[in-house]
């Protein structure tokens, strides 16, 4: 009997841990929302965060988008050629990017590039008592540190997604038009015919906005719960990247089912 109880406890522990983390993230989200007025009064804090997490991610996002677009162009060309539909390649590249790949890959890349940085920064501030020092000086770290990072993240991710999409479309254009000699006019006209402003572009941006909230929230939460040691901070940054990737993919499924 005891063995069965131990087995059930072992089975339930990770689930209980997951629920606790979910509660922790939600609590932090509410605290951030109640502190949102503070960074809005001090826009310099938000601009600094947009620079650190957004501007500094520009290169990796643009290059990744370009390569993803090129791969889409290449794969699309090979597949569509079999059905005599090469003219649809512009639509294929644009729709794949705008609806799915752009928001998802940008969010995952953002989590790896900026999210891990946010976690490490908050974790190290905790380890070096900077968060305690701030609290003792009567300034809430949620207001001063977390809320600006949160706003910076949710502004950056949709903008980076637009950049990823644009870069990807030009990557696809480069392969299909410049390398594989598809007609320039067909590429662009098919693309513009098949893309709906609301359904494809807006929905993609809404997705990226939601992913931005999720990734930034996970990053700041992991920073806050990181053990104040080198090993603790290292594990927290890993958890940020892994959890963000899984949450973004799961959210993408839910949002796709709801939107399209």
């Amino acid at each position: 009997m005891q063995k069965l109880i131990n087995y059930l406890v072992a089975l339930g522990n990770p689930f209980a841990g997951f629920i606790l983390h979910l509660g922790g993230v939600f609590n932090l989200f509410l605290e951030i929302l109640s502190s949102i007025a503070y960074p809005l009064k001090k826009p310099a804090l938000i601009i600094k965060e947009i620079y650190f997490s957004g501007v500094r991610s520009l290169v990796i996002i643009a290059i990744s988008g370009w390569f993803v677009g090129m791969v889409l162009g290449l794969q699309g060309y090979n597949t569509l050629q079999r059905f005599g539909s090469v003219s649809m390649i512009g639509s294929l590249v644009a729709l794949s990017l705008l609806r799915e790949l752009g928001p998802v890959l940008t969010a995952i890349l953002f989590a790896s590039r900026a999210g891990s940085g946010i976690t490490a920064e908050i974790g190290l501030m905790k380890a070096t008592e900077q968060l305690d020092a701030m609290s003792v000086m009567a300034v809430s770290p949620i207001k001063r540190i977390v809320a600006p990072k949160f706003i910076g993240g949710i502004i950056s991710v949709p903008i980076l997604t637009c950049l990823f999409n644009t870069s990807g479309i030009f990557g696809g254009y480069f392969v299909s038009v410049l390398l594989l000699k598809l007609d320039n006019g067909i590429f662009w006209s098919q693309m513009s015919d098949s893309i709906a402003l609301h359904e494809d572009i807006f929905n993609g941006i809404i997705k990226s906005f939601i992913f931005g909230i999720a990734v930034t929230l996970i990053a700041v939460y992991q920073g806050f719960i990181a053990k104040p040691t080198a090993d603790g901070v290292s594990s927290a940054t890993t958890r940020t990247v892994v959890s963000s990737a899984l949450v973004v993919l799961a959210l993408d499924f839910i949002l796709t089912a709801w939107m399209f």
């Binding site: 000086m137 009567a138 300034v139 809430s140």
Partner: protein, 267 residues
């Protein structure tokens, strides 16, 4: 009636129920004096300081700071109360992404409506008081350990707090920095008429500057009095600590059920 800055009554605290860090602590610190909380590593000194600064709340008992019982206050009220307190952390805890100027000006920009030029003057005065005028543009990474501690002292003094807490202010300092720091604490205490609480195990320096000492061991206050009283106490634990003896009631060895010889296979 005497006015007290800090009153702790029968306070206990533990991070878990089976491992209490503080056990039934009671102390009263009158306004304007300098008090040292002394004891060996892990005896609960820093936890007691966290209790007084409202970073943690006691599981039992009450803590009254600057006439406000913080055990009954909301986080928002505690934040308000902290504007009247200052705290120097063991390693300074300077904000590493801010310059020396921004660090010292932090409380002033957050809690006052002073003009930029006024803040600039106050920062210069505070830095001058700790002997670091001219370092405004340096980043914390460019400072030595002692300098970082002094900048942190200037930062914690920015709002002229009524209650100042120092967590191990003398640890890791060279003899000159140590004496300068001790002198500064004494000077600032007298100049501002503030109450100071030092958590330390530096006997020599603290005996020179404090008015009263609480001596802690294993989460309890085992002795208290003026530096002379503590120096002359018969308490064996305090005597061992002051004289730095290896053998005595305070065990240097970690308490374990394992037998060393059996563990090594030596009969």
């Amino acid at each position: 009636m005497q006015d007290y800055s800090v009153i702790v009554e029968n306070a206990s605290f533990g991070y878990s129920d089976d491992a209490p860090v503080l056990k039934n602590i009671s102390l009263k610190i009158p306004k304007g004096i300098t008090v040292a909380i002394m004891g060996g590593s892990g005896c609960g000194k820093t936890t007691l300081l966290k209790l007084i600064s409202g970073q943690i709340k006691p599981s039992v008992g009450s803590v009254t700071v600057l006439n406000q019982e913080i055990t009954r206050q909301s986080n928002k009220q505690i934040l308000q109360l902290r504007k009247r307190m200052g705290m120097l952390f063991q390693f300074g805890a300077l904000f590493t992404d801010m310059s020396v100027y921004e660090n010292v000006a932090f409380c002033l920009t957050e809690h006052t409506n002073l003009s930029e030029s006024m803040i600039k003057k106050i920062v210069a005065m505070k830095l001058n008081a700790v002997g670091l005028f001219g370092t405004e543009q340096l980043m914390p990474q460019q400072l030595s350990g002692g300098m970082s501690r002094r900048v942190a002292l200037a930062r914690s003094m920015a709002l002229d707090p009524e209650l100042m807490m120092y967590d191990e202010p003398f640890t890791g300092l060279d003899p000159i920095s140590l004496n300068v720091s001790a002198m500064l604490i004494q000077k600032l205490n007298k100049a501002l008429g503030q109450t100071s609480i030092l958590v330390t195990h530096d006997i020599e320096s603290s005996f020179k500057i404090v008015d009263y000492i609480y001596f802690m061991a294993d989460g309890e206050i085992i002795s208290e009095g003026s530096p002379i009283d503590v120096q002359n106490t018969d308490n064996p634990m305090v005597r061992q600590f002051i004289e730095g003896k290896v053998n005595g009631p305070y065990s240097f060895e970690y308490k374990t059920n394992l037998d060393y010889n059996t563990y090594l296979g030596i009969l």
